[in-house]
Symmetry: C2
């Protein structure tokens, strides 16, 4: 790992690892959940609120930032952390995934990805080399190698092609590293076939990478297939390096993946669903817009100690959403981040105590109902 | 004044008054600016943030609350303060003004106003009696009498009719008082003709009212006419009771009105304009969307000590507005409320020090440019 970085596994329990990830901008106790700060903002929340939820590390999206405000603006601001006034460490993705999901049109070849910006329709190229250049300008603590993520329904042959290209790109990313204060993680592809994933791991293992991520999951495959491939592959990722499950998941996804030895997570669920009125609580997920909350004087989650649950009740939050008051999305996002922060703290504590099995059983025995909007 | 209330003028300077308004839910140092919490939310901000800006008293709109969440929901919640978790005093308007500006259709006669709700199209009636009933259910500390506010272009005859009706309604509001813990203010109409205003004051003076408001201003008349009528009428409002200028103004409006002896203000400008990207700063008003801020590493206002100016720069705030990130409207609203809070503190301090003349001169000599969106 580069200077100023270290990763130490402190304890293991029931397949889970509790560790410490040190970066130049601060430490993260793992397993860690990274809130998503897409365009250099965890939507609606201040950096203080984000860190108050227990988050020590956030993710920012290279694709969004290279388009707005633009790479050079952030370079001149001293990096994305300085730009958004976030004091802790930042992980940036490579931009590749968003190109596939957001760009209006795109072409991909061995050189890289060319895409038509969803902002202004300009054509932009992303190669392993400039993905590193841009992430260098963003001065994230952890950069991700550019990868190709085939759709869930891709054939084994397509997956193999994507793996091969992803390996070649990871090699070029390693060669193109710009900062000696930035770690670089590689991304495993291979869909939901554990044997493909293992082959890809072998290909990537030879490269000088500081961590390994499972990419290409949660993009339309069945939840069982996702769980299966994580269970099969996460435990065999190099044990002395951080293991990162990209873009997933629900609290249950996280609990199960932690038991497979995953150290790092990011997901838009707590903030995106919060904006839409869905709160993660002890009883599962509630939709605060529902009429049954209209006169409920209880907090979102009576067991939660977050600033939202300590001060506001469901009746008021329901009203905010009914009236489209922007305080509503803000408060539900904040509560949800605390819910995730509490979950990560519980899991870590249990690993350190050697009781992950019991803790996970208890957590997974809780109701998992998802209240639809009625 | 009802039990638990008092109003004391502590000092006077250059026409301005510094006082203390005591209510059952806390005190307000006057002159005071009340942020507008239309639908039981000062848009985008928590009660802690609002009070942190220096605001001790907020306004909530009866019209909005009677429609959503509905009078009975707030009654059962224990009043609007409890409902929204605001610990301090609340002033509610009567709903009359919003009926005129927001309802789809409406009819007005001596009995009251009938209107078609902008929310669900239902017909609703607002009379002096139920305006007091509803404000009683909202448990505001200060209720406003129902008034008729004619348009700025109304004839003298129409103004006189509206004055007569407003007086009759104020008398009925006094008779319909529900709470012995709620003050009731009357509203002066009469357009921009000081002699009409004075006549209306004489009519209202005989009623048992706890404060007097200037209504019907800032609705399309010229700024000169507004200033003139305030200058002529505010000083002759009863000196032992709070004087409230409804719905105005800019910082300059407030400075001038304070020098005419006005004690209380409310206005949507700091929050509404903040949501739209306009920030009140030393140099006037800037539009943070403008390209000239795109790489400006300075805070909105280098002289400001608010949480926004201490932590974020123009470059980042510009980016948030360009990307329509909801953190932007939130932060500009918060800064603007601090700007208003600071202004009120400066004016009050100057009155207590006997230096309002000099302070006002200095404040009014500052640039007043308003940056358009470019």
């Amino acid at each position: 790992m580069p200077q100023g970085f270290s990763f130490t596994v402190l304890a293991q329990s029931a397949g889970g690892r509790a560790g410490r990830l040190v970066t130049p901008h601060g430490e993260a106790a793992t397993p860690v959940f990274m809130p998503v700060g897409t365009a250099a903002s965890v939507k609606g929340l201040t950096p203080e609120e984000v860190s108050g939820s227990g988050a020590s590390l956030i993710l920012a999206n290279t694709y969004h930032l290279m388009l707005r405000p633009g790479t050079e603006v952030i370079r001149r601001a001293g990096g994305v952390g300085r730009f958004m006034s976030w004091d802790g460490p930042v992980l940036t993705d490579s931009g590749g995934y968003q190109v596939l999901s957001l760009a209006r049109r795109r072409t991909i070849d061995d050189q890289g990805v060319r895409f038509c910006s969803h902002v202004d329709g300009e054509w932009v190229t992303l190669t392993p080399e400039n993905a590193m250049e841009i992430q260098g300008a963003l001065r994230s603590d952890i950069a991700m190698a550019l990868d190709e993520c085939p759709p869930a329904e891709a054939s084994a042959e397509d997956h193999e092609k994507a793996m091969k290209r992803t390996t070649a790109w990871a090699r070029r990313c390693v060669a193109a590293r710009r900062l000696d204060t930035q770690a670089l993680f590689g991304i495993l592809q291979g869909g939901v076939d554990p044997s493909l994933r293992k082959r890809h791991l072998e290909e990537l293992s030879g490269l000088d990478l500081d961590g390994f991520a499972l990419g290409g999951l949660g993009i339309g495959e069945t939840p069982e297939a996702t769980a299966e491939v994580i269970r099969a592959v996460a435990p065999i990722l190099p044990g002395d390096k951080p293991r990162y499950l990209m873009g997933l998941g629900t609290p249950r996804d996280i609990i199960r993946a932690v038991m497979s030895g995953v150290d790092m997570f990011d997901c838009v669920l707590p903030t995106r669903n919060g904006r839409n009125g869905q709160a993660f609580v002890l009883e599962g997920r509630i939709n605060i817009r529902n009429a049954r909350h209209a006169e409920d004087p209880e907090p979102l989650d009576p067991a939660c100690r977050c600033p939202v649950c300590r001060r506001f009740d469901r009746r008021y939050l329901h009203h905010l959403f009914v009236c489209r008051e922007m305080l509503g999305p803000r408060l539900l996002s904040l509560h949800n981040l605390h819910h995730y922060g509490d979950l990560m703290r519980t899991l870590r504590r249990a690993i350190l105590d050697g009781t992950l099995e019991e803790a996970a059983k208890e957590l997974l025995s809780r109701p998992d109902k998802e209240e639809a909007e009625s």
